[in-house]
Symmetry: C2
Subunit: 387 residues, 2 copies
């Protein structure tokens, strides 16, 4: 068992290629059995085995996604582990052949206010679908993620809300660390069920308290896993707090492993956190906001429902390029979104994801070219601007 | 003006290529300024400028649609004629470059029970969107369809419900004929607003009464328009009545012009009516039923929500071919449809439309090969069969 684990561990590796001279931004490459991921990277969220309104081939060829995220909570409930395992894992079930990361389900479970109870063992919760009772434990969630079969699996943690009392944050962090030991052991003792490697990323918690974040980052770094994540941010705190915590944690986490900031965020958040040393991001914003008609473009943020776009027959985003953003006009997309046509959600989702992937690829290019810091300051203003 | 009309009339022509020896099935080609349409053909319905859940390039490259339908009522209300005209017509607004046919809006208006009033001049109705009052007249609807810019525009008729008293059916037919004269004159007196030809198809009415249908078909044929349509069927009457009326009307309408049976129907209906001499069909069934999980396949009809498909990891329809039907499995599609994932509607819509287009192309091939009648009888059983 131990030997197998060591062989597997060799398959995923991170090459840190360059660190920006004027910031902490980095460019690197993560190698997985499902292909490479060039960082910094954004991961579209494919909640229940589908990035909403986007075909798999569109994710590959139009959006240029290199890795997508799946939600353990949703996948566990539906379609369920039995079917996923029968299919040979989530890749084969969905037809997505590039890397996948699954969260641990914790975040969704804590959101079930009134329908979940946290104990030292784990969380007991009721399904939002049929009210059935379930029990998530650190070991159980590792087994679940083994069966789902993502390339990168996440530790089972408690994500504290914001604001959060110091004592609650400290106790919660201690629980997260205790659970982490169980997760690490469980992953070490088990094997991938499929023909490829799976690696565990532990998660730094500690709310917005400097000493807790430092303590947690030190504990997480000591686990020596192939990558590390920062959780408990982007939960309502001011951006300054998010950046301060991210910067602090990045200074503690090892430089030679990828750093994943969970659930972040706006284009501005992403650029700022790349600057602080983050390599991986995920967020529902590009797809969720797309369905409501909010577009992120190379020229700024657009609410396509606004009257001002009514007869604008220019492409959605000529500079961005790609089918969805150049074939369809703003006026046509506005018409579709206002009339709740499914095609509106499809076009806007592809567009926003294409923009997010373009943004991180541009960041990578400027890190490589050595002008990231100045480019970032210009770009933050441009992409945050409402037009 | 007269000269221009004659030049335009030359652009759309129908070549009748072959008539089946053992049935009235025909194969032909309609030439329009937006390309040719090989008949028999099925036209996907793009209600408000979008075939629901399907990208334009998917309609072209996956579904192989040769012509799509737009609904005048919906397009008139939203996005409205001003924007459509500013865009240069519906083709340019949507990016669809192949032929388009628009209905006259009549069918939708009559469905607004309690919110419309039929007079000898036309119909006064209230918008289902904002309750605003509108007046459709035969001349007005021709002008509206000029502004929308479809290649084939439909006469403004009254579509009688089923069942329908003889007297009502007769009076309604007389009104439809009176309106038709106005439509024909209006189209003759006006020009296309764009750089391509538009032609008018008159519509045979007469409910399920043989003498009325014969009388109406004779009147419609006498208009000598480039194509003819049969309306007022597929409104709830038994299939035998539909087939009897279709057969009767086809025997009166000229053979050298395309015949369009409006709003039909199931795969079985389509095959039977091809056999009776129909060249063109449209129906919301493939897309509407797709969104509810009902699939038309080469092996029969599937309700993908059924438990029996739960862990069927085989392609949706391997024999049909194409991306949506072979890349995704039944179990995956079932999961998406049950979880109301937009991608489920997308996959099922592409699949069903691909099937419908495959079906009419197969019919065409068998007409050309001379074995249509026997093929049709086998195929009707196969595609109607619930599996």
């Amino acid at each position: 068992m131990y030997v197998t684990q060591r062989i597997f561990a060799g398959f995923m590796r991170f090459q840190l290629e360059i660190v920006d001279a004027k910031s902490s931004a980095r460019a690197g490459t993560i190698h997985t059995d499902h292909g490479k991921i060039e960082t910094p990277i954004f991961m579209p969220v494919g909640t229940a085995g589908s990035v909403k309104a986007v075909h798999q081939r569109e994710l590959m060829d139009d959006v240029n996604a290199e890795i997508i995220l799946g939600n353990t909570y949703h996948l566990y409930l539906r379609p369920g582990l039995e079917l996923l395992q029968k299919a040979g894992g989530l890749h084969k079930f969905t037809g997505w052949t590039r890397p996948i990361l699954t969260d641990s389900g914790g975040y969704q479970v804590y959101s079930l206010a009134g329908n979940r109870k946290i104990t030292t063992d784990g969380v007991i919760f009721k399904s939002h679908i049929d009210g059935s009772k379930h029990h998530f434990t650190p070991e159980g969630v590792m087994d679940i993620q083994r069966r789902i079969g993502a390339d990168i699996i996440m530790a089972f943690d408690e994500c504290t809300p914001y604001p959060c009392e110091y004592t609650y944050a400290k106790n919660s962090m201690d629980l997260t660390h205790k659970w982490l030991t169980k997760c690490v052991n469980r992953v070490r003792e088990t094997e991938s069920l499929y023909e490829y490697d799976q690696v565990l990323f532990p998660i730094v918690q500690g709310s917005v308290y400097h000493d807790l974040r430092e303590q947690s980052a030190t504990f997480i770094a000591a686990q020596d896993q192939p990558g590390n994540a920062i959780g408990g941010l982007s939960v309502g705190e001011p951006h300054e707090e998010m950046y301060a915590m991210t910067s602090l944690v990045c200074s503690v986490l090892p430089a030679d492993k990828p750093r994943y900031l969970m659930g972040v965020g706006t284009p501005e958040n992403i650029l700022e956190c790349i600057s602080l040393g983050i390599d991986m991001f995920d967020c529902v914003m590009p797809t969720r906001n797309a369905r409501n008609g909010m577009l992120f473009t190379t020229q700024g943020v657009i609410n396509i429902r606004n009257e001002k776009w009514k007869d604008d027959l220019s492409p959605i985003d000529a500079e961005l390029g790609g089918y969805a953003s150049t074939f369809y006009s703003k006026a046509y997309l506005r018409h579709l979104i206002i009339n709740k046509e499914i095609l509106g959600a499809q076009i806007a989702s592809i567009h926003n994801l294409t923009f997010y992937l373009w943004l991180v690829k541009e960041a990578r290019r400027h890190i490589q070219d050595g002008d990231f810091a100045t480019w970032k300051n210009t770009m933050v203003k441009r992409v945050s601007h409402r037009i």
